[in-house]
């Protein structure tokens, strides 16, 4: 079976510095694939390049068999990829409800959008309580729920999640991972970038290690001892 997302030899640079130095990876339809690696390894750069915020210098991104390399972010949303960015990036001065409507910007059909909002409010009851509040008044965990819900409003075939547990309390992190597992059970394909390797390996079917802009390991969660994964995910193999 062909992968839903195929990244081939991707090179993305900031000026002269190459943050991605020929990254290739695949995400199978219906799976949770996890990308682990230390800070500065290129995880967010890969997410931004896939979502169209950054343009790659070389290489390609194929989605559902179609080449989407270098397309604009809104076109990539239209193709069926939604990114939940690091630090969430909700619209702080828009209400929770308006944030959700913004996520459905490219969709037509008012009643379907309304029923999707209704379903998401059931999944995220905290958002229902705060529907009319400005997103900026929400707690970090609630903003993360909102960022996920906003991304789901575009009905993506692939959900990119960049460090969804960043800066959240342990209980909230558990809730986020429970939601990730639920989304997976409902058939959503997820590419997950995480610092929390322990939690990530529990939900993922496949994982990649990225170090200094290159994939250094790829396998199933049992393929490498967890303490080895964690050490390399946090410190990189240079720290042997």
């Amino acid at each position: 079976m062909a992968a839903l997302l195929e990244v081939r030899e991707l090179v993305t640079a900031y000026g002269k510095i190459e943050a991605l130095r020929g990254v290739s990876l695949e995400v199978q339809e219906g799976s949770i694939t996890c990308l682990l690696g230390p800070n500065g390894a290129g995880k967010t750069t890969l997410m931004f390049t896939t979502a169209g915020i950054l343009r790659p210098r070389r290489g390609s991104v194929r989605f559902g068999g179609r080449d989407i390399t270098g397309r604009a972010p809104h076109a990539i949303v239209g193709a069926g990829i939604a990114l939940v960015p690091e630090n969430r990036l909700v619209f702080p001065n828009l209400s929770v409800l308006e944030n959700l409507h913004a996520g459905a910007y490219q969709r037509r059909g008012r009643s379907e959008i309304e029923s999707d909002i209704e379903r998401l409010m059931l999944r995220f009851p905290r958002l229902r309580d705060r529907a009319a509040q400005n997103a900026g008044t929400l707690s970090g965990g609630e903003q993360q729920m909102l960022a996920v819900a906003r991304a789901l409003m575009s009905r993506p075939k692939l959900l990119l999640m960049d460090e969804p547990s960043l800066g959240l309390a342990p209980l909230v992190v558990e809730e986020i991972f429970r939601i990730i597992a639920e989304l997976h059970r409902d058939g959503t394909t997820i590419l997950l970038v995480e610092q929390n390797a322990h939690m990530a390996l529990q939900v993922a079917q496949h994982f990649y290690l990225i170090e200094q802009g290159q994939i250094t390991f790829s396998g199933n969660p049992g393929a490498l001892a967890e303490d080895e994964v964690i050490r390399r995910a946090y410190l990189g193999s240079a720290a042997h």
């Binding site: 604009a72 809104h74 949303v77 939604a82 960015p85 990036l89 619209f91 308006e98 913004a102 575009s154």
Partner: protein, 294 residues
């Protein structure tokens, strides 16, 4: 004395209504682009000169002149957007501002080439005598300007808060990157907002020249200065602030002209802005900081 104060307040609000419209247009552009468009006023002047040309050559009616002013301002605004702002979207704010200054000069030169005299007459909205009550006078055209300004602000509020396009604009104002991740095309929003702001500026310019009864090439600089001043008084980047700032500027001018004379009138407004910038109260920079923090 009390009567004078009341009369100044009425005059100030009347003048402030058109400043508010200028500031609203400025703020829309600043809000989405985070760029100052110095050519905003000159684009308005271009529209008003187009209307004046129609008036002089064809004696067109007020409706046609108003439409011509709006169409001219939108056309000139689109030209400014393409030349100054589209190429510098991710680049330097200073480069875009300087480029917009260069186009300002173009518009002034073009206007004086087509209509070389310094002053041209412009038909007024209303010819009759002003309303008089309790010793106060109220010009009919001032009421019309105030009504038009209120209507435009109400329509704009509806557009921004009740429509899909408005949601896209407000999302882009908050964070263009996040907006693009939601599926909104910020580049398209930029262009449409520029056109919208230019149209509002065109209406403001038309109302101003129709109140003054004349057009001069100074209109460009005048509109940029008044709009910029009102926008900054209202706290850079907030639409309700722009309306308040415009009305405040009108009131400050009317009262200081009465108490200190016309020579000091403009100075008072600039001194107040200087004092506000020096004191830097939180509401003035609320918008510019909220975006960098997100």
């Amino acid at each position: 004395m009390l009567l004078d104060l009341l009369q100044n307040t009425i005059d100030g609000i009347a003048a402030g209504a058109s400043y508010a419209l200028l500031a609203v247009g400025f703020t829309l552009i600043f809000g989405v682009l985070r760029r100052v468009n110095l050519s905003y006023g000159p684009a308005i002047m271009f529209g008003c000169y187009a209307a004046t040309w129609l008036h002089l050559n064809f004696q067109s009616g007020l409706m046609v002149l108003g439409l011509a002013a709006v169409a001219g301002a939108v056309l000139a605004g689109a030209y400014v957007e393409r030349l100054c702002f589209a190429p510098h979207r991710a680049g330097s704010a200073i480069a875009a501002m300087v480029a917009s200054f260069a186009l300002w000069m173009q518009f002034e030169e073009l206007a004086t080439l087509v209509l070389p005299r310094h002053v041209y007459p412009f038909p007024t909205l209303h010819e009759g005598p002003p309303l008089e009550f309790f010793g106060l006078t109220l010009r009919i055209d001032a009421i019309a300007v105030l009504g038009a300004a209120a209507l435009i602000c109400a329509l704009l509020h509806g557009l921004l808060h009740r429509t899909r396009f408005g949601l896209a604009v407000r999302a882009t104002i908050e964070n263009p990157v996040a907006a693009s991740l939601a599926g909104i095309d910020p580049a398209r929003v930029f262009v449409l907002v520029f056109a919208l702001a230019s149209a509002i500026g065109g209406i403001a310019g038309f109302l101003i020249v129709a109140t003054h009864g004349q057009v001069t090439p100074m209109l460009g600089m005048w509109s940029t200065l008044k709009g910029l001043l009102a926008m900054m008084l209202g706290g850079l980047g907030s639409l309700p602030g722009a309306i308040v700032g415009g009305l405040a500027l009108g009131l400050i001018e009317a009262h200081s002209q009465w108490f200190l004379g016309p020579q000091l009138r403009d100075l008072v407004a600039y001194l107040l802005l200087f004092a506000l910038l020096a004191a830097n109260p939180a509401w003035m920079t609320r918008w510019t900081t909220s975006r960098s923090a997100s």
